[in-house]
């Protein structure tokens, strides 16, 4: 195992960097998209809610790999050629945004309706009240479930390996076949993933307990 790290350490670091970069970009993008979709889902206008529901149902019910391959295989045919890393990051962002939207929506619903009514009675418009009063409180409720979504996101970033995205899983796969030390390679790759995911999930469990 030490030999393995000695020989392939730089490749593993490249993989780790790609996994982290992809995860952070996808986290930011899916948080933004997910929040917008959640806002549409609780909007007073019926058609906006319809758009949001359609978006969520589509991305939640199609496998991430199919979405990623769509950007890697189909989009280049008609629009623009994307690298595996870009296609994978886009796919991951869209897929995760549907789950984040559902999480944030439940957070918004958990905020006492009196908050919105009070804000409206004090002269704020619906969207002002939502942005300044309701949403900040909603985010407090959803931090633990959002953290769990982030853990899923990091794990799911391993789909980059399917499209040559140079992530940890991709490098691990190459190292395993190059070194023939399959088990040792998977152990190292697994430990690197755990180094990212375990601290987040333990912290979220701690937060959940404290909030409960």
């Amino acid at each position: 195992m030490i030999n393995l790290i000695h020989t392939y350490g730089s490749l593993l670091l490249v993989g780790l960097r790609h996994t982290l970069t992809c995860s952070l970009i996808a986290l930011a993008a899916s948080l933004l998209l997910g929040t917008v979709v959640a806002l549409l889902e609780v909007a007073p206008e019926r058609w906006l809610r319809g758009v949001a529901r359609t978006y969520i149902e589509i991305f939640r019910n199609i496998p991430l790999l199919v979405i990623t391959l769509f950007f890697y295989v189909v989009v280049p045919l008609y629009v623009i050629k994307l690298t595996g890393f870009v296609a994978g990051t886009i796919g991951l962002s869209l897929y995760t945004s549907a789950f984040i939207a559902e999480t944030i929506r439940s957070g918004i619903r958990a905020v006492d309706p009196g908050q919105m009514e009070g804000a409206r009675a004090n002269g704020l418009s619906y969207w002002q009240a939502m942005r300044v009063i309701v949403l900040p409180q909603a985010f407090r409720y959803v931090i633990p479930p959002l953290g769990n979504q982030f853990v899923n996101l990091v794990k799911n970033s391993s789909t980059l390996a399917f499209v040559g995205g140079f992530d940890l899983m991709y490098q691990g796969n190459n190292i395993a076949s190059d070194s023939m030390a399959t088990m040792a390679t998977y152990a190292v790759v697994g430990l690197l993933y755990l180094a990212i995911t375990l601290p987040i999930s333990s912290y979220m469990r701690y937060l959940e307990k404290r909030l409960a």
Binding site: E57, I58, R60, N61, I62, P63, L64, L65, V66, L69, F70, V73, V74, L77, V151, K155, N156, S157, S158, T159, A161, F162, M169, G172, N173, A176, T182, M183, Y186, V189, G190, Y193, L194, T197, L198, S201
Partner: protein, 220 residues
Amino acid sequence: MLHDFIAAYTPANLRYLFGGLGLTLLVSVVSILASFLLGSILGIIRYVRIKGLSAAVGGIIDVIRNLPLILILFFTYFGLPNLGIRPGVLVAAILAMTIFESAMLAEIVRSGIQAIDKGQMEGARANGLTYWQALWHIVLPQAMVKMIPALVSQFISLVKDTSLATIILLPEMLYRSQIIYGQDSNYIVPMFVAVATLYFIVCFLLSLLAHWLERRQARA
């Protein structure tokens, strides 16, 4: 464009694709059943706090839950042969899904049991049942009923996750679509449409079922 769809959706191709969907569902159903059994045992062990054992099981559950499924698939298909075990593609896929999903279900089972009112256990014990009798006859049945929607949601993830087994060349739906469009690049779009639609229909129907079950429980 329409022409491509007509050319791609030959009876032979569709039959081949639906066969893949069948395999997807087979892997999902077998894995969820095995995971339910194994996950329940692990979840109960973690819940009851048997000295040493519960902590060890808890540690294993947490590790598996925090690893990517693809890594576990690689482990069962490429890793196990190093230990002298050579599962075929189908067995390796089911094994990987079961390992991963058991850890997920164990946590669902544990939190399901925890959500049952402590008074149920106390009442049963006060009526003369042993701890294990009370757990088995009183607490678990109630917990299981509460867990059904979460189980359906896990099943949906499982159906989607079987597509990852493409990487070990399991001939499930996504893999088969790639075989078909590998013959003619004009079939790429029709195949993506077919695969996405079929996954969507299966998963959407299941999510409607989960919603319905949740609502029925909320009323009860």
